[in-house]
């Protein structure tokens, strides 16, 4: 291990030693935080055997990397990762450690911040730096409001909302003469290897259950949110879908939670990621988790009775109406105008 100090440490995500590509966005955040100078930034890659991965990242982004390896990091293991990070990165004396915002990484930051007595903020969307102090901004109340928080501990731990610092090939400034170190290797302290004493043991991964409608294949997705009010009103959604040739019905999480539709029709970060020609969101507020699954649709239309609904910020067409009244009118007008042709 080199004795170099780093001001920012970015912890990437892997599953079964494969990199979650989106976590590379952290390099963009780090670059922005360090005003373009990545020479004191270190990328940490946890996994079972990830030195090769580190090398490829160092080569591609000209940034120092370090592998934190442990057999039990083959599957995500936030409990163990927090301990290992605490044990290994201390000597780099970083001021900031960043993760991609996920519930798992929030578990890791919670533990890391308790054991290292540092301060933490999760799901950060932006920051303002003023000398040593730094103010982080994030959403509260499902995006209805924003909050500004300042971290005062010497070590600050942040999870960054995915999709806010996007990785375009040219956003990270490469310095051709940058001198990067060969990846550092931080094996887990021997006493810990294979230990079960955390009381936390990942066993296996199961892929999501497939089957039923294939949202990914539909040209048009009509999605129902909590705003439909009652299960009976799902018929309005399916009737609306029936005016299109190749349409499927999707939903936000609460609809699936209530078993009104099966979970494989859920759109969002823990459901499907879709990019149809048309995404029609009916009574969906536009939480970060939902938007993550549909923001790449070619055309987004949202119907919501709240003119300030967050879904409108990603919509191409905005309809402020009560869907219970609007959808029947839409269907009737369709029949009047198009079915008579």
């Amino acid at each position: 291990m080199s004795d170099k100090k780093y001001s920012i440490i970015a912890v990437l995500d892997t599953i079964e030693d494969k990199l979650i590509q989106q976590s590379l966005e952290l390099i963009v955040f780090a670059s922005s935080f360090a005003a373009g100078d990545l020479s004191t930034a270190l990328v940490v890659v946890p996994g079972k055997s990830v030195m090769k991965l580190c090398e490829s990242i160092t080569e591609k982004y000209l940034i120092d990397t370090a592998a934190i390896e442990h057999d039990e990091l083959y599957y995500p293991n936030p409990e163990l990762l927090a301990e290992l990070l605490y044990g290994t990165i201390g000597e780099y004396s970083p001021g900031l450690i960043i993760f991609t915002h996920t519930v798992r990484n929030s578990q890791c930051t919670a533990k890391l911040s308790v054991i290292s007595k540092s301060s933490t903020v999760t799901a950060v969307e932006s920051f303002i730096r003023d000398g040593e102090t730094c103010i982080f901004q994030r959403s509260i109340f499902n995006g209805k409001l924003k909050i500004n928080q300042r971290l005062n501990a010497l070590l600050k731990i942040v999870t960054v909302l995915a999709g806010t610092y996007t990785l375009e090939e040219d956003t990270v400034s490469y310095k051709s003469n940058a001198s990067v170190n060969a990846p550092a290797y931080c094996p887990a302290p021997a006493s810990r290897s294979g230990a079960k004493h955390y009381g936390y043991k990942p066993i296996s991964l199961s892929p999501e259950a497939l089957g039923g409608v294939k949202l990914e294949d539909a040209d048009v997705i009509i999605s129902a949110g909590r705003g439909i009010g009652k299960e009976e009103n799902l018929s309005l959604i399916s009737e609306t879908a029936s005016i299109f040739e190749n349409a499927a019905v999707g939903a936000s999480r609460p609809i699936c939670d209530q078993r009104w539709l099966p979970f494989n029709q859920q759109v969002g970060i823990t459901g499907r990621t879709v990019s149809p020609k048309l995404y029609l969101a009916c009574g969906i507020s536009g939480s970060q988790q939902h938007i993550a699954g549909m923001k790449n649709s070619q055309c987004i239309v949202a119907i919501n009775k709240d003119p300030d609904a967050a879904i409108f910020s990603v919509s191409d067409y905005i309809i402020v109406e009560d869907l219970i009244y609007f959808l029947p009118v839409l269907i009737r007008k369709y029949r009047d105008i198009y079915e008579k042709e």
Partner: protein, 257 residues
Amino acid sequence: MKILVCVKQVADIDSNLKINDTSSWIEENTKIAYRMNRYDEYALEEALLIKDVLPGTTVDVLSVGPARAVSTVRKSLEKGADKGIHIICDNPALPAFDTASLIAEYVLDKQYDIIFAGVVSEDMMQSQVGPMIASLLSMPSAVNVVKSELINNLTALSVKSELEGGIIENIEVALPCLVTIQTGLNLPRYPSLSNVMRARSLQITTINSEDLKKTQSCVEILSIEYPPVSSKGTILTGSIEEKAVKLLNLFHEKALI
């Protein structure tokens, strides 16, 4: 089995929230509907389901919050919890570490086998309080749980934790532990009449947060603000019929109908 459920009272997001004069938090007034954090309803139900099948199980509920939060504790008792604890704290915008410290301080000598919390609070959205409580108490935690089951002679939980993309990770966690519950893993019950009657006779333990406070986090909440209106979208105008026709024209132009 001795179980604790952490329940938070939150302002309903559809209550037309306004920022207060000092921009420190929302304006708390009588027009706001307060209710139990949705994730915590599922956490409570998960605890009650264990109580239903395992004789001798007790379910305590704990909430940190202003005076109003007592109604959420009461609601939990009506659903079937045995004991309610209200840690009174006037600051409704407490950083996660402070909330977790208060709860951990209370829990310290109580010997719970399982602590349930929600994945996230709908107001502060931190996903920190649960795992922070666990760390403060040096117990393992599992988060974002969509299924949980007692195994190994009631000494461990086998849980399914949901990852991004809907992948499920199967994990075993030894008791005592803390688990944060995702929505959808059960169907929260409504209070039964008999439980509502029973709850009336139950005393809620109130504790002043100052009496539990040991440390303070280094997180400062500076202000809250409205998000910038950043929509680049076209607002369809006119009567409801006109909007419908405009939308259909659009679908037609895009050759969708």
